[in-house]
Symmetry: D2
Subunit: 499 residues, 4 copies
Amino acid sequence: MCGVFGVYNSKTPAEDTFYGLYSIQHRGQEAAGVVVAGYDEMKNKTVFRQHKGMGLVAEVFKNPGIFNKLPGHAAIGHNRYSTTGASKSSSNIQPFSHTYRSGNLAIAHNGNLTNSRQLRKELTEQGVIFQASSDTEIIPHLAARSREKEPVHQIYQALRQVQGAFSLVILANDQLIAARDPHGVRPLALGKTINPETGEPVFYIASETCAFDILSVEYVRDIEPGEILMIDKQAVKTGKPVSLFLPPSQRKARCIFEYVYFARPDSIVFNHPVDKIRRNLGKNLARESKVESTKEEQQIVISVPDSSNTAALGFVRESNKICRPARFEHGLIRNHYVGRTFIQPGKEDREIKVRSKYNIIRGVLHDRQIVVIDDSIVRGTTAKMLIKLIREAEPKKIHLHISSAPITNPCFYGMDFPTKGQLLTYMFSDAKDNEEEIEKIRDYIGVDSLKYLSLQGMLNSAPRFDNEIQSYCTACFTGDYPISIKDACCKKEEYDCEE
Amino acid sequence: MCGVFGVYNSKTPAEDTFYGLYSIQHRGQEAAGVVVAGYDEMKNKTVFRQHKGMGLVAEVFKNPGIFNKLPGHAAIGHNRYSTTGASKSSSNIQPFSHTYRSGNLAIAHNGNLTNSRQLRKELTEQGVIFQASSDTEIIPHLAARSREKEPVHQIYQALRQVQGAFSLVILANDQLIAARDPHGVRPLALGKTINPETGEPVFYIASETCAFDILSVEYVRDIEPGEILMIDKQAVKTGKPVSLFLPPSQRKARCIFEYVYFARPDSIVFNHPVDKIRRNLGKNLARESKVESTKEEQQIVISVPDSSNTAALGFVRESNKICRPARFEHGLIRNHYVGRTFIQPGKEDREIKVRSKYNIIRGVLHDRQIVVIDDSIVRGTTAKMLIKLIREAEPKKIHLHISSAPITNPCFYGMDFPTKGQLLTYMFSDAKDNEEEIEKIRDYIGVDSLKYLSLQGMLNSAPRFDNEIQSYCTACFTGDYPISIKDACCKKEEYDCEE
Amino acid sequence: MCGVFGVYNSKTPAEDTFYGLYSIQHRGQEAAGVVVAGYDEMKNKTVFRQHKGMGLVAEVFKNPGIFNKLPGHAAIGHNRYSTTGASKSSSNIQPFSHTYRSGNLAIAHNGNLTNSRQLRKELTEQGVIFQASSDTEIIPHLAARSREKEPVHQIYQALRQVQGAFSLVILANDQLIAARDPHGVRPLALGKTINPETGEPVFYIASETCAFDILSVEYVRDIEPGEILMIDKQAVKTGKPVSLFLPPSQRKARCIFEYVYFARPDSIVFNHPVDKIRRNLGKNLARESKVESTKEEQQIVISVPDSSNTAALGFVRESNKICRPARFEHGLIRNHYVGRTFIQPGKEDREIKVRSKYNIIRGVLHDRQIVVIDDSIVRGTTAKMLIKLIREAEPKKIHLHISSAPITNPCFYGMDFPTKGQLLTYMFSDAKDNEEEIEKIRDYIGVDSLKYLSLQGMLNSAPRFDNEIQSYCTACFTGDYPISIKDACCKKEEYDCEE
Amino acid sequence: MCGVFGVYNSKTPAEDTFYGLYSIQHRGQEAAGVVVAGYDEMKNKTVFRQHKGMGLVAEVFKNPGIFNKLPGHAAIGHNRYSTTGASKSSSNIQPFSHTYRSGNLAIAHNGNLTNSRQLRKELTEQGVIFQASSDTEIIPHLAARSREKEPVHQIYQALRQVQGAFSLVILANDQLIAARDPHGVRPLALGKTINPETGEPVFYIASETCAFDILSVEYVRDIEPGEILMIDKQAVKTGKPVSLFLPPSQRKARCIFEYVYFARPDSIVFNHPVDKIRRNLGKNLARESKVESTKEEQQIVISVPDSSNTAALGFVRESNKICRPARFEHGLIRNHYVGRTFIQPGKEDREIKVRSKYNIIRGVLHDRQIVVIDDSIVRGTTAKMLIKLIREAEPKKIHLHISSAPITNPCFYGMDFPTKGQLLTYMFSDAKDNEEEIEKIRDYIGVDSLKYLSLQGMLNSAPRFDNEIQSYCTACFTGDYPISIKDACCKKEEYDCEE
């Protein structure tokens, strides 16, 4: 996963990008970068300046003087999330910046291309050299090889050739271009504010709308699936950016996991507030739940903070509505200082990691019937440790409820899931049926009961979009991949240049 | 405020201290340090080794090799919280370590001495020189000047001379000493675990019990007000540390603000779970509240996360019990990545700070009657900005409820409150009565109603201790200072050596 | 200027490269990098790993663990010297590393291409994108577009198209390739040692042979002008690398400034010891000198340490031989700690810079007739300050003797000279003749007499090569550029992507 | 060894101290610090501000903003040289700064106290606590315990009690005090300049006068042995600082090793130019030398750069005078980039260290009779490696001449010599006489002949001072310690608090 941000016609594009990236930090903690387009009076033309680094946004930009060195009117930025080998290289930090026949081109990408191997092969056969191991680098190469004159048309032609998931922000000389793949896998939103001094519009692009809120920017609309939006001086004058559309796909493939876990609850994603959908997931989970509850011994519902807070509230409300008394409580405390600088000297086991992140409130849990709401289980190791921790408070029973279905397949569209073999479900794939599999997982994790939300329950929770054959990608739950993964390369280790 | 930690008879005292300090990071984010006592085979005696630095615990100890350089059997550690001038000096980072006639002595202090000026004057007149501007340095000087032979008795004599608030951990050669002032202002707890290999006890001391939880250490009891607890090889053998007691004070002065805001909710403080007391504060606030509510238009109760979460839950539960329908919601989202590395380039106003830390969930707040629960108001600037932010969701009404009384006086016992003139209440101190003052504050902050919990409501929420004339210090709410502040010096600027 | 290094068939290629780069640090202090080729057992093929950074070699590699992360059998490295705008970008640190159709390709370059603008234009028109503003990047692009299959032939074809000065080390998968332009502008040498364990040869390539000495490597010979040397497994077996030759140029253009100033005196450059040539420069300068000297009042000859030490010794020896009594003395002391981390707080004038680097020995200089030997004058500001400093010792007279001719033109082949307008000679270009110009410079610098070595004197000092029309480039002294500079771009500011 | 610096009545005391410390960097590379006395308008009094750190001066002060944070009118600074265990602690970085009954007191010390153990014992028995393991800390304690009112008298009383070597700079509130022990072991000089704006004198104190040269400050005179010089506002008015004198010692003990090796040749030390004395050492060495030399086969004399350069020149000149033909040559090149950041990855042997620092010039050495001049031999390992390196040039013969006598005893007065057992001479202390010892050392180092300058030759080289029983300390050559070392503690490991 990654986060992207763009801004056009601001007096402080680098600062804006800093705040934007800061608010979507959850989409990528490994590295961050910004490229700014600014007019250089000495050279009498627009130049690109950049700053990038490994670490959190606030670390990369901790030197306060950095913004003075990045003047301009437009910028793009990127947060990288990745832990696989090759990506550790600093040459893979986005945005990537290039000069080519039409001038300067910088690009930042959220998603994953599924035909990058094939395209890379074709391009190298034509004599192209690659600096980084990222699939993103293919796009500027394709654009540069287009016969078109206008960068936006070059980009259009490039994007017609790539398959997969992409939400892009691009600086092409003094234009800002945003693009989203025709399946609409990853979110991308347009925002706007008015510069009070000039009366001119300032345009913003972001993976999530919480990046607009921090800057008091108004959310206008989503970049539509297949849309290429071009913002330039003309757009500032008219207030209207220009759109091109890639050939449409009737089948959409919005990542439902954005609603389940990934996006911040205060964002609008795919035109709908994440908070509301996440609450629906909790409600539907309550309806499907079978845990008994009486007035005398009502359920104590706790969330794994903070990602499951909203689902837990939805669960409690619905439970009470259907006369299954439930009470929301804070039974787990999340340490505020958990971050990437954290180390585990000596004690390398997972237990200290969980204890460093969470602590229990015994008074809330002791001798009670507990329903723990979590959003998903990937490897299962954290869940197992967390349950062990909760057990120390000696609750009567622990019921683990997951506000999504079991994850059974890796993601090839940009979510950093492990390989199939590392997923918890794989461990129990020899179960004779679903029921037995769940029972085995329950036993492994060590809870009194385990309930996953059904796939239908998930889909019912998410917004409906008219005139679409299907609206969501559920591949990680079903193995039904909406975009061909024949050529897909989920492992980046295939490229060899590391740092 | 500060956090202290100590450990005795561990194989990994530096690591243990790292985790302990990490879990009480909220008590001080400016600097951290550890001193380890270890036997040096070459020198054939116990030596002290230390590591200290500015910044968060995880930053100070980010070099993973550091723990190998700090072998030993006992350690003490300290988190410093402070933003006033002189304290920025690295020579003020605790623990302070000294050699003196009885060997080595290291000390870490949470609290504030109120007769430090007088003592410092007396000592300097006797020819004492001071390295740091901290009042803590007085204690080892007094100990070194005692005629006693045993460090614990030297410490005893030193502590008889100081007044004020102190929770101390001290390494004296190969002994660990913990001490708490007779008024019991700051918390200090004793923990224990059994080394599975040797069967011997390992002893722990910490400001809060959450530092025990991260290490799977069992909470034994509080260090009592006036107690000096000495842990040495003998204590390992018998399992029983030895206690001395300073002359008792009938009047106790536990800091009630630890319950209101400062301590973590998962800690046990003053023998009682913070979570429970904080919930009581919410309950009593609900009882005192006058906001109307009906089934049709019930209150939406939101907390300022995470410090007011527990009070908000208590408030909701009690409201519903007394037939004033209320619903707990997550209306504010707290950014996980807020930390001390954060910068505010260019935009130095407070608004971006608040926006960087919090965001609203419009769907929860819009067109609703909102009760915002916050734990306290100090300067009022953050509260004002936060309300402005909530207003953007266009709620029907905003009722601000504070789970403590108005803060009207500075703290001289270790809480880093601003001077009287900087407190919000000071701005309106010309109000003709209480009612008018509250009305003016309400107007300033911009809410539809404002309710503080009464002092009595606070005291009713906190645990009762038998046979005490008074159990709590409420000076910041009342100006009634339980320990004389005639000689007190809340400003450290008086000492001149800065770095 | 820059320094390059390569090694093949070593057990410790990264360490070897570190020491090699360390010993040619004087060729570039701004940035350093290494790329290592190593066999990856997991991937079952050769992969490239790299480490680069701004600063001195010892700073870039200060983390001692870095070498464990760079295993392999071959490596190339680069020291960058540059202070112009665009080059400050970390994306310009060499070696550059790429993947392309034939695998991996990394390149490090000393020199400057003179037709890079034209080639860059042609390439971008074909759709090529550039990451960095360096002209070096052109070479891998040309190689990748060649129809040849073998990397060494691709490189051959690429180098046929470029003009200018280049001494290159290239890693192509598991081969090491070294190449030098047909004019032979920059030096490049081949070294060899025998691994005592395996009996196999280990091959080394370096800009200067002092990089061999630090590693106890034997100097074999120079890479010849126009030679492309390919070292692979076969070369290890046979002990003989294979050579290709670019179309030869009868006119050679070895940079005579390497002898005058740039190379280390303990290096062999262009097949001859620098020390010897530099001594010749001093001798010829003595012959041309007109300073009177008697036994009673002999000349005191001092050098500007350390670059002029050898010329000064040659000067003294020859002077005495031709009965002009002279005595070598250390009259100026060079501060050992001068380095790039140096700052000039407040006092930004050049005087403190000179005083920080040099100090005088009054006893040596006072009341004496001093001949100061310096190797060259570029801007003249340092010389002026240095003379001012020497004046403080109140010598009788100061005669400044320069062991090269006046610099009148910029270098387009890799030496970081300022533009014409910044050269000292430009200030006096309106002089009616040579004599007047020298007189004006003498007056400006403030010496009693000023003597430059004649161009012929320089050429007589340098080694002769048979069958060459001309052997040296003297363009900076004469304006006679041996390689066309019509298209040359000495300014890198034309490319726009900065960091 | 260490370097100290002080300045009074400057507008830029911190910058001045930076430059001063920078120029005496050779006296200590491990750590550096400055304390500035400045008037604080807000506090209406003089305050001390400090900046200290591990590393070279240019590293410690690399942040250019640091000087703005250190305003004032006076400052003292210190360079620390030390590699023994305890000193690595950052709590040992000088100047030490304290508050005490008379205000602020900061101190920087070059030398070593020989009765520090006894004094430390007495002080701790009186209840004094020590922060650092440095003997310097004793002085402020003694001063603070004096009954005197004026800091300068307190210092006087303190210094009457200490024995050993001390050159001190002290800031006492707004006074600058310089002091030198009665034996005059370490140098200390007074400098002066006139502020052109105010016409007032600015006073400077430094270990060596090269610190004056960098600032264009005029050397006035040495601080005399036993002198305590006090500079305050009155001294600015009158132009005359006031002096007190400790009880005099007829026997002086100037460290002759300052002349042999330690001081910079461009400094005036003990009232005489180091360069001249070092040249005398070379001359006397030539007179004592027995190496034959003819016109046909004259000696090639090379120095180990840069420390032996001057002695080598003196040697050559005298040799020629006494008709033993000799020629000075640069046969060894010293790498400019040698510094403390240097690492030896993998190859930990001493050989790579020597190769990293020096390289040979084969053309100078090959087939010649070489006389290598070095200033001293301590452990002998470097000399042995260096000779091995020179052998690679295949000289006919190597004669090693040392411009000092054999070092046979450790220094207790501040020179960082190893213990007796680590000195090269110790290895051969079983030799039956001097001659055999020298022969064994010659064999060990691997030269054709070895010659040390005689003790008398050394003393004849150094300046004579009238009316002194003895003028120099030669303890390291003779074991005759001029100041009692009964109680001396050359090992700092006795104090236990490390960092």
